[in-house]
């Protein structure tokens, strides 16, 4: 095994082109568990911590660009937290302070788990995922990037560079069900935007289907929206909860989220 630590994005993309099997590692909150428990022995680790281009966030003509190395601790801080409040709320529910210091948006995207807490808030805000390789940069809607449970549209020579979105500036929230307030993988989760400007409700559910799913409806359909969300999800029974419970909980979360956002 070896670790390669590029110091620039160009260098990182060159390494990924030459060694497409190299496993990217940033916060390490997923991969170190695999290494510690002898579940993964990748030939090459690609340490992205020293690539400055992947860090932080910026805003150009209103569009927000969140680097794939943005940590949950950073996403919780003002002024970013005010631009994407549901993402900030979701970030506050990730693991513990220790995990939020290290874990990154890019990790949630790369792992592509339907339980990834950052994914529902990004989906309701119409996020685009920016992917880079030596061949160039391409952009995919988040819904197309996530192709299955723990599967995404990354080509072997590509890295997740950033997420781009135009903040709706509309009332929004994130809610998550789990056995305690910290250190919880979502039993189910929900992000909701009550978009008065476009006259629509947008909700995205997590841990309730093979991928995080988006549900939209006109604002006038508020009374049925919780049922629409529950019906759209396709949860399964697993160690964290049953399909019946998840569907029920989604209905409750959607109702509460609308109360919060339409008050």
């Amino acid at each position: 095994m070896e670790v390669l630590t590029p110091r620039s994005l160009d260098e990182a993309l060159s390494v990924k082109a030459e060694r497409p099997d190299a496993r990217p590692i940033a916060g390490g909150t997923d991969l170190l568990v695999e290494l510690n428990f002898d579940r993964a022995r990748p030939e090459t680790l690609l340490n992205l911590n020293e690539v400055p281009e992947l860090r932080g966030w910026s805003r150009e003509n209103g569009t927000l660009r969140l680097g794939s190395g943005l940590t949950y601790a950073e996403a919780m801080r003002a002024p970013l937290a005010e631009l994407v409040p549901a993402l900030a709320e979701a970030s506050r529910t990730v693991g513990s302070p220790q995990i939020r210091t290290r874990g990154t948006l890019g990790g949630n995207l790369g792992t592509a788990s339907p339980a990834g807490d950052a994914l529902p808030p990004l989906l309701v805000e119409g996020a685009q995922v920016e992917l880079g390789s030596l061949r160039g940069v391409r952009s995919l809607p988040l819904s197309e990037f996530l192709v299955g449970p723990k599967r995404n549209a990354l080509e072997p020579d590509e890295l997740v560079l950033a997420v781009r979105l135009l903040p709706s500036a509309q009332p929004q929230t994130f809610m998550k069900v789990g056995p305690r307030n910290a250190m919880v993988i979502a039993v189910c989760s929900l992000a909701l935007v009550a978009d008065r400007e476009r006259g629509e409700l947008r909700a995205a559910y997590g841990s309730s289907g093979p991928v995080v799913g988006l549900v939209t409806a006109p604002l006038e359909e508020r009374d049925h929206f919780a049922d629409t969300v529950a019906a759209a999800a396709s949860p399964i029974d697993d160690v964290r909860g049953t399909a019946i419970y998840r569907r029920h909980a989604l209905r409750v979360l959607a109702e509460r989220a609308m109360e919060r956002c339409l008050a």
């Binding site: 095994m1 070896e2 670790v3 630590t5 590692i25 916060g27 390490g28 909150t29 170190l32 568990v33 290494l35 510690n36 428990f37 002898d38 022995r41 680790l45 340490n47 911590n49 020293e50 601790a73 693991g95 513990s96 302070p97 220790q98 995990i99 210091t101 290290r102 307030n181 910290a182 250190m183």
Partner: protein
């Protein structure tokens, strides 16, 4: 190299022959270097190579917080940081908090409040509390609970731990 029963226990503390990665880092203010296995956690390096066993090894998956250290001043689980990622960075462990013989105020408060039973979680809680008070000198009870939510204690029921945090904040 361990043998027998322990060979089947998942544990990154396994000694790997291949130690091809050299790292140079600052630990508790001192420049240190170590030859590590590429897949090794910072926790294993601290405990087994740098002879700093204060950070405890328990869950190895970021659940328990007993390996909490500061990486460039930020609270992390040393079990979830690749040793190679600490190359060129600054690490503070529980051993680095006291000023020679003079205990850190958080350590003193834990002793005075009786916040220690078996003691296994204590180093992680002390480091996490020190990080909290550094960022927020006068935390509310909710802020304390939130800041220590990644540190598990199975003995105390936390009441005396929170007493210790309040005491440290006042001192």
């Amino acid at each position: 190299m361990r043998c027998g029963f322990w060979r089947n226990v998942p544990w990154s503390g396994v000694w790997h022959e291949d130690r091809g990665v050299k790292i140079r880092l600052t630990v508790n203010g001192e420049p240190r270097e170590a030859d590590v296995w590429a897949g090794e956690s910072l926790l294993t390096t601290l405990r087994d190579t740098l002879e700093l066993p204060g950070s405890k090894n328990a869950c190895e998956q970021g659940e328990c917080g007993s390996c909490s250290v500061l990486l460039d001043g930020a609270l992390v689980c040393a079990c979830l940081v690749l040793a190679a990622q600490a190359d060129g960075h600054e690490v503070t462990t529980v051993e680095g908090l006291a000023d020679r013989e003079e205990l850190h105020r958080v350590q003193r408060a834990f002793v005075e409040a009786g916040a220690v039973q078996c003691g296994f979680c204590t180093p992680g809680l002390v480091v996490a509390t020190a990080a909290l008070l550094e960022a927020n000198p006068d935390p509310s009870d909710d802020e304390m609970r939130e800041a220590l939510s990644g540190n598990l204690c199975r003995c105390t029921g936390y009441a005396k731990i929170f007493d210790a945090v309040r005491l440290a904040a006042r001192s």
